[in-house]
């Protein structure tokens, strides 16, 4: 709500060179992704941090701090990175000694994410064993392409082909 009201104020006050409506729509997911990746999905504040960053960006654009010397993407990336660093500095003392946040977002965090994860996992389960095996070794066990190739007795190029083909199949099945 706060974000929306601030956003409307900005739109009413000036005629910014940047379309703020489009900016929020386009960059909110990118900022959220970057923040979640940096802080971990289990960090409870990560969505608040993402909202703060978008608010900061709107304010900065409104105040003329974005002068077009870089792309708007790079500008927002810079604001995001600084805010993440600040957040980590503020929280370091609190987090020190606490449980290590999971590097991977917990798919049970909301119903929509859980449902998406179920669909994707179901699609993975239906893949042929040779594709599942590559996904297991590469994404779950986090072996390099070369290590996967050595384990399976195929070339690294073949590993890449299987990964690409598996992703293509998954994309098709998840969308259908």
């Amino acid at each position: 709500m706060f974000l929306t009201s601030l956003y409307n104020t900005v739109m009413d006050a000036n005629k910014p060179a940047v379309d703020l409506d489009e900016l929020v729509l386009k960059f909110r997911p990118v900022v959220a992704f970057r923040v979640r990746k940096a802080l971990g999905g289990s960090t409870p504040d990560w969505e608040d941090v993402a909202d703060e960053i978008i608010t900061q960006v709107i304010e900065k654009v409104r105040n003329g701090e974005f002068r077009g010397e870089s792309s708007i993407g790079t500008f927002i990336y810079t604001v995001t990175s600084r805010r993440i660093v600040d957040f980590i500095r503020q929280k370091t003392k609190v987090l020190k000694g606490g449980p290590e946040p999971s590097p991977w977002p917990d798919p049970s965090e909301d119903a929509e994410t859980r449902e998406r994860a179920r669909i994707v996992a179901g699609a993975v389960q239906q893949l042929k064993p040779k594709f599942k095996e590559v996904l297991n070794l590469y994404y779950y066990q986090e072996l390099s392409r070369e290590e996967v190739a050595a384990r399976l007795g195929i070339s690294p190029r073949r590993v890449s082909e299987r990964l690409n083909y598996a992703q293509k199949l998954l994309r098709k099945r998840v969308r259908s």
Binding site: K26, F27, V30, F33, T74, T80, A121, V124, L135
Partner: protein
């Protein structure tokens, strides 16, 4: 669509293999490239699903590969969809029915012989020995090949209609004198033998062979 140079770094980024300036450059890039960001999100969703459900997804991969017929059948189930299994089951049923049901019936069924326009029978073939070609005199006897499962033979001689018929347990028969006299030189005759089992079942039928008693004997 042209592939973005940064696309190859998506996995490395998500698997925390990018560090320092390379990581910064990649992050700055996906703030500017919606195509890469869409792929990044999709890949992140895949990796998250794999990481969070690995026990369910890969439990079988971590177990030693079972061997034997059951394992082979298990691997087959991985390859075939339910529909393919249904088709395979129907095909197997048809093949089994054909092999064990229909073929034995056909094998025991004797060949079909047309004796006349209104008479069609099944039976083994029976070879006639003599006479097979034109003869200079009325043959003293008629001879045919022996059949293992035949107990009785019935010979029929035709001259357009049935001239004479007789039964014998032997494989040759002499025709009676009164029949001989009916067989006139210059006429064409035909003969045929049917074999019967001990139970009286027709088991074989010969072809109907024509011969002529030529004049001038």
């Amino acid at each position: 669509m042209r592939k973005c140079l940064f696309e190859d770094q998506i996995d490395d980024y998500l698997l925390n293999r990018l560090e320092g300036p390379a990581k910064d450059r990649f992050e700055e890039h996906y703030f500017n490239c919606s195509n890469c960001f869409a792929k990044l999100q999709e890949r992140d969703e895949l990796i998250s699903s794999i990481k969070s459900r690995s026990a369910w997804l890969f439990s079988r991969e971590r177990q030693p590969e079972p061997k034997g017929v059951a394992a082979a059948l298990g691997r087959m189930t991985d390859w075939l969809t339910p529909r393919q299994w249904a088709v395979a089951a129907v095909s197997a049923t048809v093949i089994l029915f054909t092999v064990f049901g229909a073929l034995p019936l056909l094998r025991h069924q004797s060949p079909q012989f047309t004796l006349s326009e209104g008479e069609v029978v099944r039976g083994q073939s029976l070879s006639l020995i003599t006479p097979l070609i034109d003869v200079k005199a009325v043959p003293a006897y008629f001879e045919w090949a022996k059949l293992a499962n035949a107990a009785d033979y019935k010979i029929s001689i035709y001259n357009g209609e049935l001239l004479w018929s007789a039964s014998t347990t032997d494989t040759r028969i002499a025709i009676p004198e009164d029949v001989k006299r009916k067989m006139v030189a210059g006429n064409t005759y035909a003969w045929q033998v049917r074999a019967f089992s001990a139970g009286g079942t027709l088991v074989a039928v010969s072809s109907r062979v024509r011969f002529q008693v030529v004049t001038g004997n």
